[in-house]
Assembly symmetry: C2
DNA sequence: TATTGTTATACTCTATAACTATA
DNA sequence: TATAGTTATAGAGTATAACAATA
């Protein structure tokens, strides 16, 4: 064994990045799972909780407390679907959309911090290589497999 | 938002790689945490549990059941330190060393599978860029921050 | 009868702190 | 008294399955 393989390195750096992101986003009083949900509702509003759960690859029961918390803080809204009243249609509130600006800013700062060791060219190269791996491995853009923990 | 930043991509691909590794290593009836400990004991034998816990960044209490399991399977050995009998000195058994060969094979296959989308040159580039990030971020070689879960 | 959302229960896992033994 | 290892306890978090409302 020379050192550690690329797969281990990706996992190591990835876990570190996730940890740091958790800290940063915690300053906005959010968890990564909440950010993931907010991001999904922001880009594709009006979906039911079941649909969202499927896209996130998480059991539907976990969305309930997640949505509860965001709703209580006035970031997200449960609208009843008039056509099928079993379904909710989740939407961001104005306050929620406002918060997403801060989330985007945080994500950008996080990105720069993690890749601080690289030049712009190298950053682009890294991004491209990782994107190729992600595609080949069948990963859904924007969905973190380790959504699990709060 | 154009797409997703490199930091997110690393975290996403990293979590996926960790997940796949967990599955693979499960075929040897091992968890990632066990592999991490075995690897550490293999490279630096004779250390106490406290010392190992410190290097893994985990509370010492978590090492107890971890070592218990490996000891029961005859992979690891708790030797009493003659000079200070409070301390154990952890060593791999012959069976443990044998198993590590299989672990190394598994890790290599895993590595190739994860980076299947890349050429050899690209693989090397990815490895170098990630290594630079890992060093700059102060990560300890071979230690996974997300050691947590079994 | 099937489906959406919710609740309840059981289970896993972790960590804090108390305990034993050696020093 | 201080440290290594262990055990016990309590807490957080998840998921499986039962439940209510609507279709």
């Amino acid at each position: 064994m020379n050192g550690f393989g690329s797969a281990f390195l990706v996992a190591q750096v990835g876990a570190h990045a996730a940890q740091r992101f958790t800290e940063r986003i915690g300053e906005l009083d959010l968890t990564p799972a909440q950010v993931g949900l907010l991001r999904l509702v922001a880009t594709r509003p009006g979906q039911s909780q079941q649909a969202l759960a499927k896209q996130l690859g998480t059991p539907a029961t976990r969305l309930v407390p997640l949505v509860d918390g965001l709703e209580k803080r006035g970031l997200i809204e449960r609208r009843r679907n008039a056509e099928d009243r079993r379904l909710y249609a989740l939407e961001l509130t104005a306050k929620g959309r406002e918060l997403m600006v801060g989330v985007a800013r945080t994500a950008q700062a996080h990105d720069r911090a993690i890749t601080a060791a690289l030049t712009d060219d190298e950053r682009a190269t890294l991004h491209e290589l990782l994107k190729r791996i992600a595609d080949e491995q069948g990963l859904t853009p924007g969905v973190h497999p380790g959504y699990a923990r709060p």
